[in-house]
């Protein structure tokens, strides 16, 4: 479904992503691992259209979406949950969710229905319905951002570090939720530093190091590899 | 010959040529035009020193020009004229009558002093807050000029100012100003400031005290504005506070933005090119009015064209016409090739 070919992303003179290839299939869960600064988030932002790649191609369902604007990418079926966990802080939870469905705003009833079913999956959001998003706890905000992304009814969900800064118990809960989302039939590309968790959940995984793909394989293969640790520590040679 | 020398020649030679041309042709209008150009060049270079190096837009610049102009005008005015031009002047100042050159220097220093005092706390602001405060500062300076009638004659025109600015004086000042601006840009402070503009965090990390750096540029910039204002005062010999307001700000800013704020070459180029276009249009406006083509007089055409040029330049070349490289590195001089290649860039 998603194919990335020889993607290069530069910040001024610095190349953060130096020509990577990766793919995500229908209803597949793919993890993208790597140490800080390996270029994972940048890759995700480029796919979501938030930053413009320097070169390379991004194909979604065979259509070239390279350099597409972020808002067009959402309409194409790609939703992004950024690492910065950007809830609209002064908007209520309900308003946040409604905006998640912005591209479907003309079908208000369908939006309400979608919101209702997401509430069942994220019951805590129902309790917080009319509270400003900024007043939620970290774990609740993470759930809100994921639910908001789901409101767009994407076919590919990009998740950037959903476990960042959360207590272990909450991390477990978030991963359960991700698993359940996946069972609804969407594909997920997950960026994580928490390698153990991410590898357990994933069908396949890529490991990035210093802007390149250092290793790839099924979740179990990568988890079993003896090189994993050294790649993380940047000694991949 | 190194690139600094080439740049210095390129930014000063046009002024020298202009003076020679004006002397040879000896046309009163041309001389006046050349003098105005030199004064504008000092003002634009002053703005370039701050805005160009720090990357922060400043609207208050023209206010400091006003300070320089009023200061020098008042302290050089003959005593017999003072009682007429400034009837409300404080008695202690009525006897003061300095030589115009001394007056101009003091005008520049006073502008720099005022800037040094009011601007220090403002220098830690960046982006929108910095622009808003500089705009507010212009408004404050303007309000004071309009209402401090003891010194400025209020909103009315102040007349009777000693005529002292010759083309040679203005040109000499412009040449010195150009060299000074380039020297500042290449000085330690200038280089650090430009580093700050590109990356505030990194520059702070290497120990650059950002507000202090900006402050130095600001004070020097205000000094330029003060000198420019004083020269202008002794050239035009009568003016009102409205001369130091948004319209003048727009012209000076326009010259800098079109030429290229980040380089001294750009500032100089902007002054010459905009003045040329401006005067051409002004002449056209006059011709149209003289020919009585329209029922009413044509005004504002010049500003409209300047605004359009600014918009187009900013859309097509956001950094101005001379964006990054000074003349010295811009031109590929045959005798410099060796140096360039040996620097390995």
């Amino acid at each position: 479904m998603l194919v990335v070919e020889n993607l290069v992303v530069r910040y001024g003179p610095v190349a953060a992503v130096k020509g990577i290839d990766l793919a995500v299939g229908e209803n597949e869960m793919v993890s993208l691992l790597g140490a800080n600064g390996a270029g994972k988030s940048t890759t995700l932002l480029a796919i979501a259209g938030a930053i413009r790649p320097h070169s390379g191609r991004i194909l979604f369902d065979g259509a070239d979406i390279t350099g597409m604007k972020a808002e067009k990418a959402v309409a194409a079926g790609i939703a992004m949950v950024p690492e910065t966990r950007d809830v609209f802080a002064d908007l209520t939870v309900r308003e946040n969710l409604l905006l998640g469905g912005f591209i479907h705003r003309r079908r208000r009833a369908a939006c309400e229905q979608e919101m209702e079913s997401l509430m069942t999956m994220f019951p805590v959001l129902r309790e917080r319905m009319h509270q400003p998003g900024g007043t939620l706890s970290g774990g609740e905000q993470q759930q809100l951002v994921i639910a908001r992304a789901m409101m767009a009814r994407p076919r590919l969900l990009l998740l950037d570090e959903p476990s960042l800064g959360l207590a272990p118990l909450i991390v477990n809960h978030i991963f359960e939720l991700i698993e359940r989302l996946r069972r609804t039939g969407i594909a997920i590309l997950l960026v994580e530093q928490n390698a153990t968790k991410a590898l357990q959940a994933a069908d396949r995984a890529y490991v990035m190091s210093l802007g390149t793909i250092a290793m790839s394989g099924t979740g179990a293969e990568v988890a079993g590899s003896s090189d994993l640790e050294s790649i993380y520590l940047g000694r991949s040679g | 010959m190194n690139r600094h020398l080439v740049t210095l020649i390129c930014i000063t030679l046009p002024v020298v040529l202009l003076v020679i041309a004006a002397e040879l042709i000896d046309d009163r209008l041309l001389t006046r035009l050349a003098t105005t150009l030199c004064i504008n060049m000092i003002l634009v270079l002053g703005l370039q020193i701050f805005t160009g190096n720090s990357g922060i837009l400043s609207f208050a610049h023209i206010g400091f020009m006003g300070i320089g102009a009023y200061t020098s005008a008042v302290i050089t005015m003959p005593a017999r004229l003072k009682s007429m031009a400034l009837p409300e002047l404080y008695p202690i100042m009525q006897g003061v009558q300095l030589d115009p050159l001394v007056g101009m220097a003091i005008g520049g220093v006073v502008a720099a002093l005022v800037a040094a005092i009011v601007a220090y706390p403002l220098m830690r602001l960046s982006d929108a807050a910095a622009v808003i405060t500089s705009f507010a500062l212009l408004m404050i300076l303007h309000t004071i000029m309009v209402h401090w009638s003891e010194v400025t004659n209020g909103p009315r025109t102040l007349f009777g100012i000693v005529e002292a600015t010759t083309l040679q004086l203005a040109a000499a000042a412009a040449v010195v100003a150009a060299i000074g601006a380039y020297w500042f840009k290449e000085s330690r402070v200038g280089i650090l400031l430009r580093a700050v503009r590109n990356d505030e965090v990194a520059a702070a990390a290497i120990g650059a005290h950002i507000p202090l750096l900006r402050w130095r540029a600001y004070v020097l910039s205000a000094f330029y504005a003060g000198i420019g204002g004083a020269l202008w005062a002794h050239f035009i010999t009568s003016f009102s506070p409205n001369a130091f307001y948004l319209r003048e700000t727009f012209v000076i800013l326009g010259m800098l933005v079109i030429g290229g704020p980040a380089t001294v070459s750009g500032a100089v180029f902007g002054v010459f090119s905009v003045t040329a276009v401006f005067e051409g249009l002004r002449a056209l406006e006059k011709a149209i009015n003289a020919a009585d083509l329209f029922s009413s007089t044509v005004v504002g055409l010049t500003e409209i064209i300047l605004a359009l040029v600014m918009l187009i330049v900013l859309i097509l070349r956001p950094g101005g016409i001379i964006e990054r490289n000074e003349f010295g590195t811009l031109a590929r001089w045959p005798f410099m090739k060796k140096q360039n290649s040996s620097r390995g860039e």
């Binding site: 604007k69 912005f102 591209i103 | 405060t133 408004m139 309000t143 948004l246 409209i304 605004a307």
Partner: protein
């Protein structure tokens, strides 16, 4: 102080504050999203003013003329976006500031060139010159109209911002523009809408402002711009509520100065208010009312 004076004072503050609040909102709607001071904002007031002047003598009823004038301000706002901002938005903030300044000069001089440097009277309905007497205080009806229009417009605006998806999208864009795009809110569209709203406020302000001064000149936009500017800084540049509060507060300060200060100090009033602007920006950069938290964690 007798009841009459208090009534007079209150109405003065409310009248001026209503105008100021509308002016400030029009400016802050743009600032919230683009972080940009639109220097061409005052010229939207001018556009509406000249439209009304050009419609002078037409057989239309005044309200229709006013409506057309407001629409022209809205169109002017959208044009500002298309001409001065969209082409340079990818560049620096400074570039946008300069283009807005250039566009402002462009419009002003176009009015100079094509209409006249002199003041032009605009048509006004009878009611703007009438007045009523209450508790011994003569109250011009136009002041009451100003207050009422402001309340209606502010109420309607609040409803739109709170209840409609478009309003939410505007607030979201002001809170975190990048994220707003990532949920599918188109950047160009939302910015154009913000400019249209800004134009709407400018248009209404123009009608009420002209009701007070009766004539339009090319430089008419400067004062509304400056007032909006100060009110926004006082109230908080990033908050819509702040802009309204700032507007009324500035009116309170201005009117109090008018009542209390001796005339020779009064002429320095603007210097005082602008000094206040600088002090507020230094000590409390977010203004009295803090804007939306960006919600960013990193």
């Amino acid at each position: 102080m007798d009841v009459g004076t208090i009534l007079q004072f209150t109405l003065d503050v409310l009248n001026l504050g209503s105008l100021y609040a509308l002016m400030a909102l029009g400016l802050v709607v743009i600032y919230g999203i683009l972080k940009l001071v639109n220097f061409a904002y005052g010229e939207l007031v001018m556009v509406a003013g000249y439209t009304l002047y050009l419609l002078n003598g037409s057989p239309l009823p005044w309200l229709i003329m006013a409506l057309v004038a407001v629409c022209m301000a809205v169109i002017g706002g959208i044009t500002t976006d298309l001409v001065a901002f969209r082409p340079v938005r990818a560049n620096s903030l400074t570039a946008m500031l300069i283009t807005s300044f250039a566009f402002s000069t462009l419009l002003q001089n176009a009015a100079l060139l094509f209409i006249s440097p002199r003041a032009r009277n605009v048509p006004l309905p009878e009611i703007f010159t009438q007045s009523v007497t209450m508790l011994g205080v003569i109250i011009p009806v136009r002041n009451l109209i100003t207050i009422a229009s402001a309340f209606i417009l502010l109420g309607a605006f609040t409803l739109v911002m709170k209840r409609t998806v478009l309003g939410m999208a505007l607030r979201a864009a002001a809170s975190n523009f990048t994220m707003a795009r990532m949920v599918g809110i188109p950047a160009n569209f939302i910015i154009t809408v913000a400019f249209a709203i800004s134009g709407l406020f400018a248009g209404v302000v123009a009608m009420l402002w002209l009701g007070r001064i009766g004539a339009v000149v090319p430089g008419i936009g400067l004062e509304p711009l400056l007032v909006a500017f100060i009110a926004c800084v006082i109230g908080g540049m990033r908050s819509l509520v702040g802009a309204v509060v700032g507007g009324y507060l500035l009116a309170l300060i201005d009117v109090s100065f008018n009542y209390a200060l001796p005339p020779d100090l009064l002429s320095f009033r603007d210097a005082f208010t602008f000094t206040m602007v600088i002090v507020i920006l230094l000590l409390r950069p977010s203004g009295l009312i803090k804007g939306p938290d960006t919600g960013k964690r990193t």
